[in-house]
């Protein structure tokens, strides 16, 4: 039965890969070759819906959040400015977390007691990151984003996971805050507690800043810190991380929203595409081989991260385009 299920999963893979291979180069070509006003207005939102749908499937199968795929891919291959892509990326990650949060909390997989102190640090720092990110020139953001994405590739490539980390003794702070619980795993019931709470919280300063600055979501960083550094069981870490994004990204999303960096025509198709893709992805997950998809995700991120880095370096070496020229272009045709 398992063999047959796996082969069914492999059968679905060429379809997904073909969709990605067809859609992304077309988008990349369009972004550079076709002036924005030469294309029908509905083409890009429709393409965005299709790409985010595929992205939603791949994100579920690859075990990553939508935000980490969204910003480098849409920022690198679509004609939208990186400011709006980051705003939409945060809302994509936020919506995914809000959708998953209630179920994870009710099932007691996400721990509110673990999330509250971490969220306090991460959400405050995400505000700083968002303000800093919006103040930076676009080419610097693209350059830093490229470096960050390539760093995430390295983390995904090398990070180990521990289903039940060994925590000999809870530290004083986590004991005082009562951060512990019982996790009912598939094979055993496990009393969990955490340690290294202060170093963990300090690490969330960096994670919060990066989440706000790049609009990435931060599951890629949350899970290793909660699991490997602080010692929460893997499933508790994954669920708490997903729930946590709903708080961290909220604070940064408000900064983008209040600074005008949200265009509904980007946000709505992205949310709908990612959510529909996630529903389909969950169904495919039952029969697919996730380890293979994980390699595909790593490959896509490496490609998108390199392109972002390349765009950033290229823009640094290019002569600056006066801001007034953009405004004239935008008002052209009025």
């Amino acid at each position: 039965m398992k063999e047959s299920g796996t082969s069914k999963g492999w059968g679905a893979m060429p379809v997904l890969l073909a969709a990605l291979l067809l859609v992304l180069p077309a988008a990349a070509f369009g972004a550079e070759a076709v002036p924005a006003d030469a294309t029908e207005w509905w083409v890009w939102p429709l393409l965005l819906l299709v790409v985010t749908f595929v992205m939603g499937i791949v994100a579920v199968l690859g075990g990553v959040g939508g935000g980490v795929l969204y910003v480098p891919i849409i920022g690198g291959f679509f004609p939208f400015h990186i400011d709006f892509v980051r705003g939409a990326g945060l809302l994509v990650a936020l919506s995914g977390a809000l959708a998953a949060g209630p179920g994870l909390l009710k099932a007691n997989l996400a721990s509110l007691r673990l999330a509250i102190p971490v969220a306090l640090v991460a959400s405050s720092c995400a505000i700083i990151g968002a303000m800093f990110g919006l103040a930076l020139p676009a080419h610097i953001v693209k350059l830093l984003l490229g470096v960050t994405i390539l760093g995430i590739v390295v983390i995904m490539f090398t990070a180990k996971k521990s289903d039940y980390p060994d925590v000999p003794k809870a530290d004083a702070l986590s004991s005082a805050l009562g951060i512990y619980g019982i996790y009912q795993g598939p094979d055993k019931t496990f009393d969990w507690k955490i340690h290294r709470t202060i170093p963990g919280l300090l690490t969330f300063i960096i994670i919060g800043v990066m989440a706000g600055m790049f609009g990435l979501g931060a599951g890629w960083a949350n899970v290793p810190v909660l699991n490997l550094m602080m010692g929460a069981p893997l499933k508790i870490s994954v669920a708490t991380s997903k729930f946590l994004l709903g708080i961290t990204d909220t604070s940064a999303a408000w900064v983008y929203l209040n600074n005008g960096a949200v265009i509904p025509m980007l946000v709505a198709p992205s949310l709908i595409g990612i959510m529909l893709g996630s529903f389909v992805g969950v169904r495919i997950l039952k029969v697919a081989k996730p380890s293979f998809i994980r390699w595909v995700v790593i490959g896509i991120l490496a490609f998108a991260g390199s392109k972002s880095l390349y765009d950033g370096i290229k823009a640094m070496n290019a002569p600056a385009k006066p801001a007034a020229q953009h405004t004239q272009e935008a008002s052209h045709g009025k």
Partner: protein, 147 residues
């Protein structure tokens, strides 16, 4: 017995989940409706749909200046909660569900503060109140950024 008790989610966790679920469903449903009204041209937007592609490639600062000078003619470019004045327009109408999705976490925290108070969990009560203050500050629009 103790194990059974701790395997279940706590009172505050269940309460947070209930508020989150309601807010998320309302926000997403409204977003689908408002986007439908916008994208199918049922409610007229500020930026005509066929001109939008001239603007989404600009930086946020340039975008705000261009939209204000070409369409809105307001004293200042519409940042912060200025979208509320334009809520009758197809594009700006979508900001309402986006604000609900971004704001529901504040209400969730507000719901669990009394539970922590009742249980005498002062550290968690204070952390929750501080989180509400931080998120409200972020939502207030006082935190400006710019290139």
């Amino acid at each position: 017995m103790e194990n059974k008790k701790e395997l279940a989610a706590s009172e505050e966790q269940m309460l947070y989940a209930k508020w989150l679920e309601k807010g998320m469903l309302i926000g997403l449903a409204l977003l689908v409706i408002s986007f439908g009204l916008y994208v199918f041209g049922i409610i007229e937007p500020v930026i005509p749909l066929d001109e939008l592609s001239k603007y989404w490639g600009l930086s946020v600062k340039e975008y705000l200046v261009a939209v204000n000078s070409n369409f809105l003619h307001m004293d200042h470019a519409p940042t912060g909660w200025a979208w509320m004045k334009l809520i009758g327009k197809g594009d700006y109408m979508n900001f309402l569900p986006i604000a609900i999705l971004s704001g529901i976490t504040i209400l969730c925290y507000g719901a669990i503060v009394p539970v922590f108070k009742k249980k005498g969990e002062n550290a968690y009560m204070i952390m929750s109140i501080v989180e509400i203050v931080i998120l409200t500050l972020a939502a207030s629009g006082f935190l400006a950024a710019g290139h």
